[in-house]
Amino acid sequence: MQLFVEQLINGWALGSLYALFGIGFGLVFSTLGILNAAHGTYASWAAIAGYYAVERFGVPFPVAIAAGVIGGGLLAVVVDQIGFQPLRAKKTGMLGALITSIAFWIILDSLAGFATGQQSLAFPAASYPNQMVVMGPLRVPQMQIITIVALLVCTIGIHLLIQKTRIGAAMRAVGWNEVAAALGGVNARMVILLTAFLAGATSGLAGVLGGISTSNVSFTLGEGLMLKGFAAVVVGGYDDVRGTAIAGICLGIIEVFVAQYISTSFRDGFTYMLLLAFLIARPRGLFGSASFVRA
């Protein structure tokens, strides 16, 4: 029983990383209509930024996290302005931005390889909370609790932002139709910048937390998160952050349980079986809106 609960928390923490990453990916896809292949590199670069902040300047843990989050957000804004903004005026739809995002993926991945010297770095053990929290018979690493709480805060915060505030309404309007939103008095440029930053920042957060808890700061970090975060977005429904969060947590728990109780070789297999089942049975995901058709 104790093992079961511990593994449950393990899976939940792992799934929280997937979900945190997936939220940003889904946000960009639903609001800006961009299938962003470069999204994984934001996480890698955020982890690298956090790592060097600790390594070079010896900053405390919260500052390292902030460095990663802000770094990821700024990187996303830069990529958006260089790679996607010139194409918006030319009306190339999803296709043009997909190709420029592939270009950025190639560029940023390769640069990340240089930044880490083509190897996987690990945060020094003293630079983050690495104690165990004892709760009765359970011992849970502090980082897992931080990760789980981070996802809860981000999900609730972003859900409220999108559903309850004027900014959120503007974001949904731009997602529906940018020109119509602009006619309705929405500053589309600001909404685009804000969305890009928010998406980069959440995946940056996932990157730093993931880089710390898996002791892997390199370009492979982003790729791993990308594959699983993407699955979370498809299962959860890309236009709702709650769906992504729940699906991400479920995927993490399933992954850990399959590895623990069935076989480690089926670890990925189960995730993608679930993905396939959703694609066939409920293609719009857990919370996806029923008739989401762009005219």
Binding site: F29, G33, L35, A37, I82, G83, P86, L87, K90, T92, M94, L95, G96, L98, I99, T100, I102, A103, F104, W105, I106, I107, D109, S110, L111, L227, F230, A231, V233, V234, Y238, S265, F266, D268, G269, Y272, M273, L275, L276, L279, I280, P283, R284, G288, F292, V293, R294
Partner: protein
């Protein structure tokens, strides 16, 4: 002749891979030209590739028999995929097809009897560049004929506006289904061609890398004309080689930057029939205006 042989020794493999990538790009173009962004070419390529590898490896089938089998396999896979995915809205289609690529790799990894699993398969047969060129030429002729046929016209209509197309009696579902079948057949051929070129395939061969290569080739070359994917594949395949010659340390970065610049300045791709049309129209207008001006001068 001597210099030609030297050049071939240096760049022969680039040309071969450019032809294989051209098949993949044509397969992606087949669905893209009816307005469907789909990464499933990788799936069809995997089906065709493993089928061809097994047939030639286990049953000793010759090349000319393995290719049609791969095409059939790819086409069949495409029918299944089209049946399941064509009811999805375009955004979901893109996501779902990408997800299917991930699923394909995991499936291939867990079916070692069919695919060799993690260890992969050694392919005993090799395809000569000339044979590959003939195959590509055949496919190109088909695409050229299709482009000028009723189907080509209908697919362009569906791509521009599916609702308008259906009011004119064209069924978007039917056109897109046929496009998927074509994509499957060409994708299967491409997968087999890749297997016979590399002579070793594993589940990692048919994965995200290839998906992004084919979509980038297609859009880079231009997705509005059948020549686009072929040119795009040639450019995209030659890019790393060229960049390695110019800036060896940062060849990947340079490749990305070139791709970025082409897309920003030529978002419709290198081959753009609309640009040709506009240029032609502008020239015609100039000529008529010049003629009119001349007539007016003559009257005056």
């Amino acid at each position: 002749m001597e210099t030609f042989l030297d050049l071939w020794a240096a760049y022969g493999s680039t040309v071969t891979f450019a032809m294989v990538n051209a098949l993949f790009a044509l397969s992606t173009y087949a669905v893209l030209s009816t307005g469907v962004l789909s990464f499933t070419t990788v799936v069809f390529a995997a089906v065709g590739g493993f089928l061809a590898a097994q047939l030639s490896g286990k049953f000793g089938l010759p090349l000319w028999a393995a290719f049609p089998a791969a095409a059939l396999g790819g086409g069949f896979a495409a029918a299944v995929v089209a049946f399941a995915f064509l009811r999805l809205e375009s955004h979901w289609m893109a996501l779902a097809s990408l997800a299917l690529v991930l699923i394909t790799r995991v499936t291939a990894l867990n079916a070692p009897a069919l695919t060799g699993g993690v260890n992969g398969l050694i392919v005993p047969v090799r395809v000569e560049p000339l044979e590959l060129a003939i195959l590509l030429a055949l496919c190109t002729v088909v695409f050229w004929r299709l482009h000028r046929s009723w189907f080509g016209l209908a697919s362009r209509a569906v791509r521009e506006d599916a609702a308008v197309a259906s009011t004119m009696g064209i069924s978007p579902y039917r056109i897109q289904f046929i496009a998927f079948l074509i994509s499957g057949v060409v994708g299967g051929l491409g997968g087999a061609a890749l297997a016979f070129t590399l002579q070793f395939i594993s589940p990692e061969t048919y994965f995200i890398g290839i998906a992004f290569t084919m979509i980038a080739s297609t859009v880079l070359g231009g997705s509005f004309h059948w020549l686009g994917p072929i040119i795009g594949a040639a450019v995209f395949t030659a890019l790393p080689t060229t960049m390695q010659a110019i800036v060896p340390q940062i060849e990947d970065v340079a490749k990305g930057v070139v791709l970025l610049l082409i897309m920003i300045f030529l978002p419709r791709g290198l081959i753009d029939p609309r640009a040709w049309g506009l240029k032609k129209a502008a020239k015609l207008r100039e000529e008529t205006e010049a003629k009119r001006a001349a007539e007016r001068d003559a009257h005056a």
